[in-house]
Symmetry: D2
Subunit: 284 residues, 4 copies
Amino acid sequence: MKKAVFLIYSNDRKGLLSGISTFFYQKGFNILHCQQYTDNCENRYFMRVCLDITDMPVTRKNLEDSFAVFASTLNLQFSVHYSDRPQRVAILVSRASHCLYDLLAHAQDEKDLLCEIPLIISNHPVLEDVAAKFRVPFYCFPVGKDKPAQEQPVIELLHRHHIDLVVLARYMQILSGEFIREFPSRIINIHHAFLPAFQGRNPYERAWERGVKMIGATAHYATAVLDEGPIIEQDVERITHEAEPADLKQIGKDIERRVLTRAVRAHLEHRIILSGRRTIVFSK
Amino acid sequence: MKKAVFLIYSNDRKGLLSGISTFFYQKGFNILHCQQYTDNCENRYFMRVCLDITDMPVTRKNLEDSFAVFASTLNLQFSVHYSDRPQRVAILVSRASHCLYDLLAHAQDEKDLLCEIPLIISNHPVLEDVAAKFRVPFYCFPVGKDKPAQEQPVIELLHRHHIDLVVLARYMQILSGEFIREFPSRIINIHHAFLPAFQGRNPYERAWERGVKMIGATAHYATAVLDEGPIIEQDVERITHEAEPADLKQIGKDIERRVLTRAVRAHLEHRIILSGRRTIVFSK
Amino acid sequence: MKKAVFLIYSNDRKGLLSGISTFFYQKGFNILHCQQYTDNCENRYFMRVCLDITDMPVTRKNLEDSFAVFASTLNLQFSVHYSDRPQRVAILVSRASHCLYDLLAHAQDEKDLLCEIPLIISNHPVLEDVAAKFRVPFYCFPVGKDKPAQEQPVIELLHRHHIDLVVLARYMQILSGEFIREFPSRIINIHHAFLPAFQGRNPYERAWERGVKMIGATAHYATAVLDEGPIIEQDVERITHEAEPADLKQIGKDIERRVLTRAVRAHLEHRIILSGRRTIVFSK
Amino acid sequence: MKKAVFLIYSNDRKGLLSGISTFFYQKGFNILHCQQYTDNCENRYFMRVCLDITDMPVTRKNLEDSFAVFASTLNLQFSVHYSDRPQRVAILVSRASHCLYDLLAHAQDEKDLLCEIPLIISNHPVLEDVAAKFRVPFYCFPVGKDKPAQEQPVIELLHRHHIDLVVLARYMQILSGEFIREFPSRIINIHHAFLPAFQGRNPYERAWERGVKMIGATAHYATAVLDEGPIIEQDVERITHEAEPADLKQIGKDIERRVLTRAVRAHLEHRIILSGRRTIVFSK
């Protein structure tokens, strides 16, 4: 089945649900899923519509153009996405393999991450072997004193491969504002702590020192301010006083991998709409 | 703010969302929340619409009548509920106080269970003191050899008080089919196990014998077959080999109380639609 | 069965387990539970020994004196506690009843918090009715401009009633350093956030603004620095973008109540040893 | 650091902790961790002692022989395990790759499963490519009408490779009693349900039909009765009515993989003692 997803948002007013659902009904589409959310605190409206377009009565161009006309009358903002046009994902890593394995296995073997992964980029050569196992080209750009000089070829490589989404899968470098601005709301990072707790370096050591009784991980869109971007997904595990920092790292790896994969899946399935510093993450 | 909730269900077909949302829009209502769900396995459609009726442009009778006419054209089934008509809840208990306290404190003090509790019924006198603390009339009907003779006055009492919902808050008696048929889909029971595991008697002892590593509780609508009714809510806690049956009971009490209160809240907020043996539980 | 609990801690060295367990064996005691923990990061040893003292071969004074002599040879620190000497607990509250109900119901009805609660203290009169339900004396000390003047009679009242443990059950006042020093490691506070995230005021509003996907609560010993004391227990619940600040407060109440009750239970059962800013919380 | 682990169990009586810990102290060993558990329901005692044997004062043979003499005086049963003798693990699979990837990545890349994996066995050829990625020999034994004929060469292969532990990583065949008796308490299976709920076939379909609100997975030792063996580890995830059987399978894969890996790790670290149908799983 071919699907189209419309992500729609605007200020809230009466009649939005009626108007939008009637638009698709009159065009002859079958709505597979439709979820909406009204943010009463900020008076904003958000909607995700998933259409069956297997036997589409109009061309895609025609659908998009006519929805654009309709949307302008209601002052809606929107984006359209098609299930037969998989996104192109670049994975950036350093030395830790656990998130990389999970993303690759889900994308290539389990096939529940619908995307193409044309390249893996690292600042260390150590994970080249993992990339080779999955037959994904691996590029290594060691970080020296001149950080912009390291970032520039990475950015060019990402653009040359028409990358839609950049996944920082335990890439232990802080990206510059320039890098982030090249991929606005299209860089997902995994932070190995339950944000906003333990932003920055060495969260597991600091969690041990603080004596917390649960540890967590957070997937978020990268923004210019470190670990401050909109949160997509979080999860935690209970720990006891017995867990030393090395134990926290091991327990944490499992949390990181599932939190990052869930966040990437939500993004690839076009289930996320940004609302300032918050994310609307539809379940279907 | 006064609210009306429509719970709507039918076989799925094109145009339902457009048709229903347009009906309310044209009547001049503001939709506060609207969630829908299409069960693609059984081709069924479910919808919950919450309207602001503070300044209602028509009478309630008028609204209901006109929606009934509209619904018949689309073959919809529905029910309507108003926030200013709180439901009347009877709580049935035996000897354990933990669920009773939680329901009463939420209803009377925290005021996040919107209902009236005109009576508490038990087969033991032991919880009369708890009922008195909350100034709720307490009726005791000991269970003897003649079960129907015990049930009949309970049923009459419930009807005389116009009870909308019966909550079995660790009422350790099995209700007869006659009793249950008097209150179809309006009896909520808490079972102290993660159903369908450990149906029936002594679930904590059996959980210990089986050596499970988590225990749980299940709130469900009571049906004629014990512990087989549609599940509303479940939760679990992790345990270790150290937990003996008495520990399981203590840990379990905390699970039971929160699971039952959540289920009762979902029912009172008209967020549940039954679908055969399954429940659709809308989040808002 | 009467029990004695020894909480023992020292620098780690060879032979501690052998020495201590042999001491109790030679005195003729039956060890019901024994847990020990070696903190390899800080080279510290912690042990909890629970003895059956129903038919005690020596007097308590004799046992304590002879263990003190033994402990000094190994440079052990320790404390002894008896199950037939329940601790005296004061609960401090403001306006929110949910934690108060849970503590009182567990202590008086479910009897799984072994303690006496001789008084409840508040800065508002609103919860007097809850205290009356459980027949616990209620004292109200409104907070004016002169904070020490409000605190002084509270401290005196606590001492006059020989209070062992002070529980801040959503007491919305910051205690002075003087107050806290009066009850070192004997004040347990519940903070309505997953510390160290959202220390200080209005954590639910700030959690909403930050867009977290889980909220939590933290029970900790109060120290002179706000929300920085040793953590005893934490728990979380998953939330979605639909949860507004008012929803977070409601969901959070349930987390707060169970986290605080668990922490108080661990303290009352003498299962906690402090280690700097961390807590060792034995499971049995 | 080289380590030895003693797993000890017996009927409970006074003096066991003192006796055993003194034995190791007098031999000059440093106890790294020691946990014990008394099952008061069945009057059984269990102990795990982890020793530093880096500079061992006696030979292993000498240690084992002298402990055996000591154990016979107290009627203890025990087994000894050494950290420098990694266990040999065979993984049996069918078509699903998710558990296989996780085990291999943990064993080879993350190095937190201390074992050798000399072979992977399947009844389908489809996962040969995954085995090749990790350079592990792959053997395919298709299942025909003659089941014993298929099992016999598998058993021989396992013995020829001196396999200590057989992991059924979604191996969709029921092993015969003969097979299981060859590897008593040394076969770990992952069942894709929260046992004892949904034993047997198609648990996700049956979970959907029953309308449960959480799904789970269970790792257990295989015994002659299907899905009835001693449980090692379980975990769950919350689901809603939106999750169709295909969604349950996807959500469940993530639970299965982490539950199986945790159970295998506990076994490999010699943290499990069997007690009838229950498992004692020490945390360290």
